[in-house]
Symmetry: D2
Subunit: 430 residues, 4 copies
Amino acid sequence: MAEGLMEEKVFRDPVHRYVHVKDKLIWDLINSAEFQRLRRIRQLGTCYFTFHGAEHSRFNHSLGVYEVVRRILLQFEGKVSFTQEEKLLALSAALLHDLGHGPFSHSFEKVFGTDHEEWSQAIIEGDTQVNKVLQGVSQDFPQQVSQVIGKTHRNTLITSMISSQIDADRMDYLLRDTYYTGTNYGFFDMERILRVMRPYAGKVAIKHTGMHAVEDYIVSRYQMYWQVYFHPTTRSAEVILRKIFERVKTLYEQGYQFNREPLHFHSFFQQRITLQEYIDLDESVVLFYMGEWRKETDPILSDLCHRFMDRQLFKYVEYEEDDSNPEWMGELKELFRSIHIDPDYYLAVDSPSDLPYDVYRAGDEERVPINILFPGGKVEELSKCSTLVESISGKRRYDHKLYYPRDLLEDGTRDSRVVEEIYRRLAMFS
Amino acid sequence: MAEGLMEEKVFRDPVHRYVHVKDKLIWDLINSAEFQRLRRIRQLGTCYFTFHGAEHSRFNHSLGVYEVVRRILLQFEGKVSFTQEEKLLALSAALLHDLGHGPFSHSFEKVFGTDHEEWSQAIIEGDTQVNKVLQGVSQDFPQQVSQVIGKTHRNTLITSMISSQIDADRMDYLLRDTYYTGTNYGFFDMERILRVMRPYAGKVAIKHTGMHAVEDYIVSRYQMYWQVYFHPTTRSAEVILRKIFERVKTLYEQGYQFNREPLHFHSFFQQRITLQEYIDLDESVVLFYMGEWRKETDPILSDLCHRFMDRQLFKYVEYEEDDSNPEWMGELKELFRSIHIDPDYYLAVDSPSDLPYDVYRAGDEERVPINILFPGGKVEELSKCSTLVESISGKRRYDHKLYYPRDLLEDGTRDSRVVEEIYRRLAMFS
Amino acid sequence: MAEGLMEEKVFRDPVHRYVHVKDKLIWDLINSAEFQRLRRIRQLGTCYFTFHGAEHSRFNHSLGVYEVVRRILLQFEGKVSFTQEEKLLALSAALLHDLGHGPFSHSFEKVFGTDHEEWSQAIIEGDTQVNKVLQGVSQDFPQQVSQVIGKTHRNTLITSMISSQIDADRMDYLLRDTYYTGTNYGFFDMERILRVMRPYAGKVAIKHTGMHAVEDYIVSRYQMYWQVYFHPTTRSAEVILRKIFERVKTLYEQGYQFNREPLHFHSFFQQRITLQEYIDLDESVVLFYMGEWRKETDPILSDLCHRFMDRQLFKYVEYEEDDSNPEWMGELKELFRSIHIDPDYYLAVDSPSDLPYDVYRAGDEERVPINILFPGGKVEELSKCSTLVESISGKRRYDHKLYYPRDLLEDGTRDSRVVEEIYRRLAMFS
Amino acid sequence: MAEGLMEEKVFRDPVHRYVHVKDKLIWDLINSAEFQRLRRIRQLGTCYFTFHGAEHSRFNHSLGVYEVVRRILLQFEGKVSFTQEEKLLALSAALLHDLGHGPFSHSFEKVFGTDHEEWSQAIIEGDTQVNKVLQGVSQDFPQQVSQVIGKTHRNTLITSMISSQIDADRMDYLLRDTYYTGTNYGFFDMERILRVMRPYAGKVAIKHTGMHAVEDYIVSRYQMYWQVYFHPTTRSAEVILRKIFERVKTLYEQGYQFNREPLHFHSFFQQRITLQEYIDLDESVVLFYMGEWRKETDPILSDLCHRFMDRQLFKYVEYEEDDSNPEWMGELKELFRSIHIDPDYYLAVDSPSDLPYDVYRAGDEERVPINILFPGGKVEELSKCSTLVESISGKRRYDHKLYYPRDLLEDGTRDSRVVEEIYRRLAMFS
């Protein structure tokens, strides 16, 4: 069943130095078409518009998550007795957990209603190379991997390695995104954390001597959200991308005659997507279409694609809903329309939010809390023992911004009194 | 003329920490469509198949070269008096020196006979956004930038900052490629080298106290070539890519009916490429076509594209031409044909070579040698004072490999005696 | 007055890469006997017993603080107009701020009542090489430097560069101690912070765009205190050191006949220390005496010195005063005495505490708060805009530990019932 | 025999991240007085005068060598079957190989004729704590460890891990010295080298795929010698140190009345050193005496000690013996004497030399050559397959410098014509 490789394979990795592959199963999964596809999907979507270093792919990150789980398993040796199949289950799920990500996932999912986790499961359980390789272990192995990713597998310890508030996924992406962006907010001492991880009550818990290292990890995560993931330039590019998808969909529904028909998107418009169609879509396909659509006659589609390809992004103001004036946004849209700028595509509120850490709330399997193990068997939830974590725990922080195209407002063709009025209103928030 | 920015702009950069932009000219060049296009062209072509971290773009590198030149100029303050326009010339040429690179340049240029340096010049001098921005400095400024890139500008000091054996281009790419691949062979002490650079006789020379730092740089370069740039996995992917381009061209010339007509390549097949067609081509376009061509009925094109997209590469043996048997290759090809594998597409010798450092040879402006300045005014060419450099100077090292598809030979459908005979012959070199 | 050096001198520095010296004044200060003495005083005292990498000296750190102030001054160019003398004042005060540190300062000061800041001022204003060099600038220059270090100089901007809650001193030591210990808790983005520092109302303030970087710095500081500076192994060595000093003093006062008379300490025992005696004392002197005192006939002094030299430290339990039993400690001491272990030297409570950040309280010039500058001129104190900082602001955290020699208790010569009783009492806290 | 620790101990290490200790034997060795003494001896002697970061101790380095051997043993698992005792032998020898180093070894050994390797063996085999701990393994275990260090043990594989041209000692010190000095010349990819190490014919050999990594290591070593270890400032301090030891010895032999009698050195002067006297000597002792001797009435001793303590070093010129004028040096000395500067203490030729790599020469067990293992069993000595290594192999490079006190020549009290004549002669080499 679990065949070893003749010789260990290694991948040189900037973050973990080496990714070690000893099992033929893992080697074959990496070499499947569906996993290689992840090379064509960026880990951080539009973030490269802000941090030019952030050009790394989900392939890159997925290898990293696999490696972190491999090290956790080494750490657990002697502490918990996994069967060889359970180890392969943990490793496979780690490697494949992002398999279903589409191009520029965040924007894509919002417009087309897809869910990358469901697609990861679909690829693993469907008629794919990955599925065939997994079946080599046992008949129900693909389904088991799928359950770990879906957080429904009975082995909660394995699940919590990949999905919890201190899992291999998060640890890898913080370190990796920090490395590629060249920021250093996401840096924390992973080696220390691995050393203090303990299996406890069917979950991963942390020995108390590592409490400060975990604090540092939580703060790093908090910082990365505010400094990198929610950076307004990145979000501006995402807003434009979303508007492009919306425009294409609308034009398609209106029967618009495309020069470059969005063939790869038809099934998405119609909400009956086959596995192969989903897999065929990657970021080079999306970029290809956007390149072509720059030449469409529809001025909105053409302009938005030009903006994305050539990085002519929207500007923004901080924004807070004004309860005393519920008409505010409607009036602003009206002003836009009056100078011939369509607010449906050129005015957008974006509100990313983050919950850096949270205590457990019944039913929320996404948020397995971090438990600290003290001598004598006492167990305490992290925010109970750390003022620092407590201060940011459970507090969802919002960041509301209103994006708009300053260049259009100032292109000299608009009624200057209206433009002034628009600026006057926008200035309220700055 | 040389307008400053209201506020300095910075790019966070993993290699130089920050890239500083103070001139509106540079800011506008970065925001031009032609420069933004470099985001869609990888710095190291197919290298990401070997080192998954090597997913960085030429945009990334170009900003870096600009930053290195900016620091050289700071270093030269008080030592040479550049006018503001000369400084902008050096900075612009640094930023734009790779502007004409196409997708997967090495393979592409070999098949289609294009030259990225000529295209850089064409984009700078043609009807482009970059050209318009450069014209803002002075009428002939675009041509001057083009001359620096073409190494024909009268100011040889500026040219040698960007093109010599120790120029900003090489220094940036060694550090950058090392960083993204996660290897460390390319690391050297750039800050020290910048400190010892001196203008001398219209070129950049090196103060003798920095001789060891320069030695280290030369050795780093030598190592990167053998460890990273010529890695056989990378070359295997390049061989396949070249074969894809050749196959498409042949099919086009034979009037083959494509499912996905290679519209973006027509002008390349016909050797009358317009500027816009050249600019429209980037790696997302090439990847899009390859994705589509996996479904073509031509088995060779379809198979090669599948190989590239899904990383099913060719294997290789070391290869040396056997003078005692000039028929060797012909016979091998015949053996391939006899088992129905077309050697024109499935058998390829690849011979990358490198000259890590060379002394000057008359007329070779590419190879400005490195001069070391000693106290008392003595100047010596580097390989004269360094045993280490002398040992690798002027010695072009070749690496000949023969690539072939082992999977096809072993797919169970071929005459096993022929396959054995093929392996027997290939084994001669290993 | 302000003579430049013929050629800039550089020191290779692991933390800031290079320390640049352009002024003859600074070069001469570095080469004074009093400054070179700092090479013989470790930056982190006994911390090397815990983190073997922490062997760096105050010389090392002082160069770093100088370099940070040099960069702040560069950053302030164009924003504030310092005279050349003011710049030299800032640089000199930065370089010399730790000049008065003695060997293993913390323990030393506790026993002998010295104050390193006062001694820094005494050395600068006294008959020393440093004083002579400083007088080269102007008659009252030494006094000015002394005032900056004493935080009484009229130029509060310069003072706040060196002494505030985000000063060059703290920024350098966090980065440096992190580097040498090999931990990474102290790492933060200093370059970013330097970029957002602004002179404001006669102090250094921070532009709002750098708020997260400052948050990160505060958290780093908090982490370093708990992970490194207050590490119980380090504190255990400090406890022993303090007990050695106390024992020597007691023996001296009792007229004990030393084999190795503590000549270098006489003036400290008598509280009339001359400048030269103070300067003559460094860590090699203290270590020399301890090496010698291992052979004294007094068993306590001999044992304690052996413990320090050979790292046979005390163990500890967490400790909290038990209000319900005020006699607890007295009883424990009695138990120690009953088995012939002198509690005055072998039982010690140590309570380091830290205030990671604090808002301003009237009169506390040590704690200049960090002000954040928002667009439109709004200024807000840091903990008002950061939940993270707010959570640890103004909260002094104590760490009480009780140190004792487990090896003595278990040497087989003590009454086992008493030892058991001692352990029973100690176990209350663990 | 080989007792494990209840819980693995780790040391945080800046170079290897963590040093792992699992055996009680190793833990007890580390905690012995003789090993703790290494904390008081710097790894790089006087190098801290040039690179202020180089303040790390031999304790620091010894832990590192131990860790590297531990990793080699892990790497060899499955490739060679060591008994538990053999593993402990390798680990103990690695940890203790530098145990006999004295203060500022290079200068000290030259003047007093001691040999640190012999003293390492003496401490291991003598009546010491280390010896007692080692005896816990087996009666002859101390002697075995001593033999490995002396390169006479029958297990040449273990010996070659610690003493060869690519041993744990060299790998650790290159990385460590690079880290602490803040240079980066010594950096190479140790992890890669560990992966390609193979036991072969009773020695450590290198798999051919790691050839370039080994090349890089050899070049790093070459660079570190020329950039760091032989730096003229470091050598100048060493010259002064040597002269101090020579002066003290001479004064002692002349019956000079010291204010501070060199008690710790008597046995060295008399060449009958006991083990305890040797162990009692460390750098704090030497520094203590030098501090005291600054106040001696002998002007030479006093001046030299002041120079060392306060970093008032000698200047130098490059120097080559002039065969055409064998009297040259004699004449120069005469000139010195004529202006009352004693050339025995104030004029010194220093000629460090390095052999970066060498092929094997019969009988030279110090220079085990590096063998490269090729597929099919071919073995080739490194310099045969690497041009780079070949270029520096077997070529001992000398660096002759003449040190002299420029400050004395220019103190205004000397005959200016003689001084001019001295400078004229010195200028011949520059």
